[in-house]
Symmetry: C2
Subunit: 315 residues, 2 copies
């Protein structure tokens, strides 16, 4: 493309845009979508939803997500830099559509306002000691063991047994547990769909840092949505993400009810409770599918440890 | 206090409240304040500012912070559970004031709306393998080495040299670097005061998790505000937080300008640039004060390593 040197397009992976949402499923900040311009197609997430615009009054209103037909002003980050103009400068190179990565439906459209300067001012710092050096020191292969399943399915119990087992084998592990993380890093988050996405996004980023530190990270989170588990998987290195479906029927979880939560949820006292008032999307191709009925946690932990051992031998 | 069993007060560490701000320094979510009720005094932070109320029109408006005389609706978390009522039920046990932890001035006042259910539904998960077990495995004492200083002061260079040095000594380290974290975990955050506080809060929580994993964590962040560095210190175990002031005069940082940022900042092209358009609050009692002028990074790294060694021998 020939351009006047005085009006070069922007090249950036972060920009502000006006976004119009079409889909019945709301736009959730932090979720990964496909962004298409006239010339490009790239993974993208809304990092910040600044406000929505009331289309009748043009007043800026606080918003956590965008519902169908709502318009919002947001910061968007693409997986790699793209070339664009501001919409007010050029209507064809300043607009984009948003496509759902699962259904391939067009779910939103946007107009780019301007690139964010922060994209230029943050540089990747190359470090001398890397993942390979750290894991060599520990003689282990970093991994992210991601336990997903309903509340009360046995995730924490299995995770705990697994960590004790790996520890006795001299492996260096760390356990990130849903409840514990919510007391610290994610204590500002609740249980709405928006907050669940951000909860998993942050945890996945922390797991990535810990795997980079050479650890075997055990993550125990309900993580009900396929999209976020895929996002977590895509963050990690090849073969590093091991999805483990802790499969216990809802009836059995409700019968055990170790924290008394199902009782409250069925009585209508907890909003957004997975399996009762919020969906659980079961994994389709987990690396390990643990049917827990009639199985001891220690036996299931051993099954995971065996999987890990065979993976060590592969290489 | 005698109460009718039918109208017991709430006991919780999380609640929603209406907050009125008095102080010239704005209220920043994530910052630690002192919360005082008629019967109690406890550290507290605003975890979420939901919206502010326009006091003329009573319209809800989006807000990132509260300026003087502004009213907001927010979620507050206290360091331990406190006893309270809803303000509409009881005016004396349902209100509180907010006190600045440095100046001891009363900076805000609030009325409690209701406790947050999430406080009841998140349980601390006790784990078998703990920090002591993990560090014994590695024969090292976990630590958080917190390098603070201006942009261009040499933090990243020293941190990198230090990590390489510790690695050759067989220590298991991890380096959390400002720019790198902003590409992942904190990519939704900018450089306003609000975002800087949240940036450091999340990083400190991650450093805490990594220290809990038994690692020696090297943190390299401008971290310009005393309040947030103190918050980070208070998160860690006794003696675990080691504040290292990388002290390079502003003139020298601007002369080096490794990323070309000072040039942009002095030209007025970067808002909120520490040392130019945003303050840097130098540490008052850092564990180590490194005057970098005329010193090699490797020499300074060795100085930190010696400090760590003496600390190992203490115990």
């Amino acid at each position: 493309m020939l351009v006047d040197p005085a009006s070069r397009p922007f090249v950036s992976d972060q920009f502000q845009a006006h976004l119009i949402w079409f889909d019945a499923n709301p736009m959730l900040p932090g979720r990964s979508y496909l962004l298409r311009t006239e010339t490009d197609s790239v993974s993208a997430t809304v990092t910040v939803l600044k406000h929505q615009l009331n289309v009748d009054s043009f007043v800026r209103e606080p918003a956590k997500l965008l519902q169908m037909n709502e318009v919002g002003v947001c910061n968007i980050m693409t997986q790699r830099p793209i070339v664009f103009d501001a919409y007010k400068e050029n209507r064809s190179t300043g607009n984009f559509i948003i496509v759902d990565r699962v259904s391939s439906a067009t779910v939103g459209a946007g107009m780019i306002d301007f690139p964010l300067r922060r994209a230029d001012n943050v540089h990747w710092q190359a470090l001398d000691v890397d993942k390979a050096a750290r894991s060599a020191l520990k003689n282990q292969k970093p991994a992210v063991l991601w336990l997903t399943g309903l509340s009360g399915s046995g995730k924490s119990t299995i995770a705990n047994a697994l960590e004790a087992l790996l520890h006795t084998c001299g492996k260096h592990t760390y356990l990130l547990d849903g409840d514990n993380v919510r007391h610290g890093l994610n204590r500002d988050l609740g249980f709405t769909a928006v907050d669940r996405v951000e909860n998993i996004r942050r945890v996945a980023e922390v797991a990535k840092l810990m795997a980079d530190a050479g650890l075997i990270v055990i993550c125990s989170f309900i993580s009900p949505f396929r999209d976020e588990r895929r996002m977590a998987r895509e963050l990690m290195g090849e073969g590093e993400f091991i999805e483990i479906f802790v499969d216990t029927p809802l009836d059995e979880c409700a019968r055990r009810d170790p924290k008394g939560l199902y009782k409250k949820a069925f009585a209508g006292n907890i909003a957004n409770f997975t399996g009762v008032s919020s969906p659980y999307e079961a994994p389709e191709n987990p690396e390990l599918h643990l049917k827990t009925m009639g199985q001891e946690p220690a036996r299931l932990a051993l099954q995971i440890e065996e999987f890990l051992r065979s993976r060590m031998e592969e290489k």
